[in-house]
Structure formats: C-alpha cells, structure tokens
C-alpha cells in the first residue's frame, strides 16, 4: 500500500486557459504545468491517501485542543480576561454583530470542521478502495470551500491584535493558541499532500458502498 503508483498519461484542458494539454505519466513527486499559461495541471504527491489520513487526524486533534484549552489571556492588576477560540464569536453575537459573528464562525469553525471531517469520510474508505454514499459531493464541497478556510489568516490576526493591545496590558498565549499555530502548518501540509486528480481517479475506480 505504501508504494505510490505513477499517474497515467492523460489529456486535459487547462482550467485557466482551456488549452488542451497532453500530460505524460507522472512519477511520485512529479507535477505538470500548462504549456501556455503555466497553471499547475496535475501533481502526484507521494503516498497521498495515507499521508492525508495521518495529517487529517493530527489536524482534528489539534483543533480539539484549540477549542477546549485556554486560548489567550489578557489583562493586568488582577483583572485578567481568559478567552477561548469561540469567545470572540460570542462577543460579536452579544453586541448584535450577527453578520460578523456568522462570517467569523463560518471561516474559522464551520469550514475547517467540515473539511477535516469530510476528508476522513473520503480518505479512510479510499484506503481500501471503497467509496461511501455522497463521496463525490463531499469532495466537490471540500475543493470549493478551500479558500474560505481562513485559520491561517485568523492566526495572523491574533498576532496583530497582540501587538495592538500590548500597550494596554500583556497578552499571554495559552496552550490552545500553540495548538492552533501547529494546526496552520498541518492544514498547509494537507493542502500540499492532497491532489484533486488523485482523489477523483481513486473515487472513480473505488467500489460503491
């Protein structure tokens, strides 16, 4: 199972410029770009499914830690505010900022949670060449929602807010914030280790359940 298969030669149209490209067979680690507009057409990340599963489980654990352990603490002279990841969303909601609360929870909670659980739903059965009902729809949603997963931008937001507030009082990152920091790197690694084409081809040849 650990040996990555080479991807077969294939004819595709470039998604960015519509040019017909003949992609040669791709060995593990190789990729192909459009000859006209240089868009990445196809990659063959080594051991995509197994790596994807391992990274997705790591991400789920880190996200669980982020949600349960203290995230940031802030204050001085006995008045210290401890926050969790959701505190900001709840704060916005209580101030009547329903739209902002909705956007922030969508981009930092709903989409990441959907992506992590969706990847589990796809990758675990694919390891045994099985696909579960609705698998193609789940993969389409995962791919289309990718730009709306904004955990890494949220992390930069934390750093900027920390510098902004340092004049008022000291900002202490809790264990939750460190887990969140790691989560950013794991999410990036998931993106790098998973190639849509590999998943589509595996889904196509998988047995239905």
């Amino acid at each position: 199972m650990s040996i990555t298969e080479a991807l077969q030669p294939i004819t595709v149209a470039c998604p960015d410029c519509d040019l017909i490209n003949q992609i040669p067979a791709l060995a593990a680690g190789e990729s192909a770009n459009c000859v006209r507009c240089e868009a990445t057409l196809s990659r063959n990340p080594p051991n995509a499914i197994n790596r994807g599963i391992a990274l997705t489980f790591t991400a789920i654990m880190l996200y669980a830690i982020t949600c349960t352990l203290p995230f940031l603490s802030f204050g001085k002279a006995g008045i210290v505010a401890h926050t969790k990841l959701f505190s900001g969303i709840i704060g916005l909601y209580e101030q009547g900022m329903y739209f902002l609360a909705g956007v922030v929870s969508f981009t930092t909670v709903v989409v990441p949670v959907f992506m992590m659980s969706g990847l589990c739903y796809l990758l675990l059965p694919l390891r045994c060449d099985v696909r579960l009902p609705g698998a193609t729809r789940v993969l389409r949603w995962i791919l289309n929602l990718q730009p709306w997963n904004m955990v890494e931008i949220f992390m930069i937001g934390i750093i900027v807010a920390g510098v902004k507030l340092q004049k008022m009082a000291a900002l202490e990152p809790g264990l939750g914030a460190w887990a969140f920091m790691l989560l950013i790197f794991v999410m990036a690694a998931i993106g790098a280790s998973i190639e849509p084409r590999v998943l589509w081809e595996r889904l196509e040849s998988a047995r239905c359940l």
Binding site: D16, R36, L72, G88, P147, M150, G157, A161, L165, W200
Partner: protein, 212 residues
C-alpha cells in the same frame, strides 16, 4: 509553435472540461447527459455562465461598500466612560506614529492596498476582455492568479476586531466593540472574493491566436 493554426483549446476541439473534477469530454456526449459531469455531478459549462456581467455587478457593489468601510469606525473603544471610534486609516496612522510601524504596514497592506489593487486589477481584466485585447495574456493570467490568491488575506482586520472584542472586556478599565465599518469591510472582502471566482480566466485567452 506553428504560426498558422490557433492553439487547440477544448472549446475549439468541441470539448468541455469539468470545472470541479477536470474530466474532459466531447460537448456532444455532455449534452446527452444534460450537461452534468458523469464523474462528479457538477454542471458543465464551456465558460462560466454570464461571467462578465456577474463579475461587474459584484465588483461595483464591492466598490460601493468600500466607501462606508473606510468612513465608518471599525472599532468603538470605551475607556474611562468615553467612547471613541476608529476607522481603518486612523488605526494605521495611530500605529505609524506610536512607533509600531510593522503593525501599521500589515494593516495598511491587508486593509487598504490589497482591496484597492484587487478592485483595480479586476476592473482592468474585465475591460481588457471586453475590448477583446490580445495584449500580454500571460501577464494578465498572472494578475488574475494573484488576485485570487491574495484576496482572502484582507480578512485580517476583521479577525483583529473579533479578537479585540473578545479580549478587551475589562469592565471599567476598557472595552472594545465592533463598529459598523467592520461589517462593510467584511462585505467588501467577501464580495471581491466572489467577484474573482465569477471571473473566468479562460476569457483572457479566448482572443489569442485568432489570426483568421
């Protein structure tokens, strides 16, 4: 590269490729399946439906939203009983003069430079496609990729407001509330992301190589 024949695109070869899974199939067999991809079930279109009009509509709404986003306060700070509103630009100026120029630079780039460049770039792409320009398509394709890649990062300021709202609730000492400018700004980021997604980059190339 031959001079005579135009580059072979899926559209010229009477093929259509699925935007979601990349499957390439003849237009005729796609029609037989009600223009639905047989592999992933997505709707098949040779080009995004009504791409230019949709992108224009979203872009113009984003430009309109961008005005209140900059004029209205994005945060309301209450300290010792006094409430003060801060717009995006006031925040940048404050950090510039208080010596925190890296913060000023991050906020300026993410909240002012990126949205403005993004809206200008989309306007340029739309106009160049409508004028059937064949001028430097590769550069325009790269501009589009940049717009798509960088746009979501403007969300930083919205998250900064969220975190400050969560943290600065220190009772009498100080409290921070989100201002209405933050709603408009968040709207600008979302609408420009949707505008970039509704623009079809293949239109840039459609005028190229048509020598006949």
């Amino acid at each position: 590269m031959s001079v005579a024949s135009p580059p072979l695109t899926a559209a010229r070869a009477q093929h259509v490729s699925c935007i979601d899974c990349g499957l390439l199939m003849p237009t005729a067999s796609a029609k037989q399946q009600a223009n639905t991809c047989r592999r992933c079930g997505a709707a098949l279109h040779s080009r995004h439906t009504n791409s230019l009009n949709r992108t224009w509509a979203l872009l113009i709404s984003a430009i309109i939203f961008y005005i209140p986003a900059n004029l209205l306060p994005i945060t309301l700070t209450t300290a010792v009983g006094k409430t003060e509103g801060d717009t995006i630009m006031q925040g940048v100026i404050y950090f510039l003069f208080s010596g925190d120029w890296p913060v000023a630079l991050v906020i300026f780039t993410a909240s002012i430079m990126v949205p403005m460049l993004k809206m200008a770039a989309l306007t340029y792409l739309l106009i160049s496609v409508q004028r059937h320009s064949s001028h430097r398509p590769l550069d325009r394709a790269k501009i589009y990729r940049m717009v798509e890649f960088v746009g979501r990062w403007s969300m930083i300021d919205v998250f900064v407001v969220t975190i400050m709202v969560a943290l600065v609730q220190l009772g009498a000492l100080a409290s921070i509330q989100a201002g209405s400018g933050a709603i408009f700004f968040c709207g600008v980021v979302i609408i420009t992301m949707l505008a970039a997604a509704s623009f079809d980059p293949r239109l840039i190339w459609d005028e190229c190589g048509d020598n006949d």
